[in-house]
């Protein structure tokens, strides 16, 4: 594990920090089956994905299509039934600080303050400058004023900011995000998406972002992977032509509307198929 404080230039916090680890994610023919026999539920079926270092990829799909399960296999929370996941060429066998995870909600430790939640990762990783590292990320997500607050005292948006800071503080090579803004109200969600891109433009970490919101995926991603359910698998893949830096007013651009249309079409036809399957 590389030492965050050593790579970061603290004298110029406003400048771009030197910290930039960009991992490659290879999902190789991964299937995930829950249960056995008659109860067997194929959550993910024979899926392969290659995510380039520094890429921002969104996995888009309806609820229950196996997005979280696939992401969890990268995090090391579940072991694929077949196939394997490689991060920077290393097979994933268990969770680790090289893969930062941001959950949908309620994942901050309620008994730790904002600051202590962020500092936990660095100190567990043996970062001798854990305090300074935490200080830096606290400042990055704009919560210096709330350093001594407990999670219960923060708004949902603030909690997710802490979640992002916490995940980045171990200097991971990939950032995994499971519908991190899904529980927020629409206005907060938009603000959070913008802040995430701002942070990402500084860090350039590889991001694998799960969402069921088409607009969110178009606004954030370089590449959009569309999944469908029963069994969960990838049904389409789109490169996002929308230029960076992104801004909310881009949603009226022609290329934005086009790619959004493409995503919606796939989702619609897949939903119809699933509907027919259920009523067959």
């Amino acid at each position: 594990m590389q030492n965050v404080a050593q790579v970061m230039d603290f004298n110029s916090i406003e400048e771009q920090p030197a910290l930039k680890k960009r991992g490659r994610i290879q999902i190789d023919n991964v299937s995930l089956v829950f249960g056995t026999g008659k109860q067997a539920n194929i959550a993910v079926q024979e899926t392969s994905l290659d995510i380039e270092p520094g890429e921002f990829v969104c996995i888009l799909g309806p609820s229950g299509c196996g997005k979280s399960t696939l992401l969890n296999s990268v995090a090391g929370y579940v072991t694929p039934t077949t196939g394997e996941v490689l991060v920077d060429g290393e097979p994933v066998v268990e969770p680790g600080p090289d893969r930062g995870m941001v959950f949908q909600q309620y994942s901050l430790l309620p008994w730790k303050t904002t600051f202590d939640n962020i500092a936990l990762g660095p100190s567990l990783c043996g970062d001798v400058e854990a305090t300074r590292t935490a200080e830096y990320f606290l400042d990055m997500v704009g919560l210096t004023k709330y350093r001594n607050h407990y999670p219960a005292e923060l708004s949902g948006g603030m909690q997710q900011r802490v979640g992002i800071a916490r995940a980045l503080a171990t200097n991971p090579s990939v950032l995994l995000m499971d519908e991190p803004f899904g529980a927020l109200d629409a206005q907060t969600r938009l603000v959070m998406q913008e802040s995430l891109l701002e942070v990402w433009s500084e860090f350039g970490t590889t991001v694998l972002f799960v969402t069921h919101d088409v607009d969110e995926s178009v606004f954030l991603a370089d590449r959009i992977i569309v999944m469908s359910a029963s069994p969960g698998k990838v049904v389409a893949e789109f490169d996002n032509p929308l230029p960076r830096p992104r801004s909310p007013d881009m949603s009226t651009r022609k290329d934005y509307i086009e790619i959004k249309q493409k995503c919606l079409e796939v989702i619609r036809s897949e939903s119809l198929r699933a509907f027919e399957l259920q009523n067959a």
Binding site: G96, P97, S107, L109, Y150, E153, R166
Partner: protein
């Protein structure tokens, strides 16, 4: 901080409690002063007070009241602390590992409902009539409550906390320190408070054999001579020490677990 903790209790509720206690006391004074109650079985407050003063300065059967109370409190606290030292780690292990649960649970479930006196008979045969059998009985009375509460508390911890902390690089021991122990803390404290009550309930049983001091023994001995004033005085003192110890535990919990005092400042989203 202590005064802050005291103030946190609702003043109105405190007034109600005070009122109900005062009413009970009033009823006691009434039935004893008017002669409605036989003083042999229910002496009045004054008789109790005199017994208290007498035991305090003259002692009871060779030991002063302070010695009786001190001896019993020592036994209760030593056994209870030991029960915590064993019960909390064991409960955490049993909550985290189904195997550990399967190994230890049968024994705990088996001895838990046994009557303390029956258990004590065996303990005396094994450990002799001295101090160790007494401590062992008190310890065994306190243990299951702590274990059961700790196991449940560990099982109830949000699994996301565990995953998130593993992703930050925590080892198994670090998970216990950072997640399981603090996460289970509030419920463990409740289990400890209930368990201390169980320890108290077997105190008299533990002190009836070969004791010469102890508040439980004093009550038992006084009952043989129908000294109901001493019996009631002993029970009141026992009850008051119980309340005091419970308050101390709640305060320690309040001081050690500041996050339980955190209040929402924003709406949920």
């Amino acid at each position: 901080m202590f005064t802050q903790w005291l103030k946190r209790d609702n003043n109105q509720r405190f007034a109600i409690s005070l009122g109900s206690v005062a009413t009970m006391f009033g009823a006691w004074v009434f039935v004893t002063e008017t002669g409605l109650a036989n003083p042999l079985f229910l002496p009045g407050p004054k008789a109790i007070y005199l017994a208290f003063i007498d035991c305090l300065f003259e002692g009871y059967q060779g030991s002063t009241l302070v010695e009786h109370v001190g001896t019993s409190l020592y036994r209760i606290l030593a056994a209870f602390l030991l029960a915590c030292l064993v019960g909390i780690p064991l409960g955490i292990a049993m909550g985290m590992s189904k195997t550990a649960h399967a190994i230890f649970n049968p024994f705990i479930e088996f001895y838990r409902p046994l009557p303390p006196l029956g258990l004590y008979t065996l303990l005396v045969m094994w450990l002799g009539i001295g101090e160790s059998s007494k401590l062992a009985l008190l310890f065994l009375a306190g243990l299951p409550g702590i274990i059961i509460a700790t196991v449940q508390a560990v099982k109830d911890i949000n699994p996301t906390f565990v995953l998130a902390t593993k992703s930050l690089g925590a080892s198994r021991m670090e998970l216990i320190r950072e997640v399981y122990l603090p996460g289970a803390g509030p419920t463990i404290l409740t289990g400890m408070r209930i368990s201390l009550g169980f320890v108290y309930t077997v105190l008299v049983a533990a002190e009836i054999v070969a004791a010469t001091a102890g508040i439980g023994w004093m009550i038992w001995d006084a009952a043989k001579f129908l000294l109901s004033d001493i019996v009631i005085m002993g029970l009141i003192i026992l009850g008051l020490t119980g309340i005091a110890l419970d308050m101390i535990m709640r305060f320690i919990g309040y001081a050690l677990m500041p996050w339980t005092r955190a209040t929402r400042k924003f709406s949920k989203t």
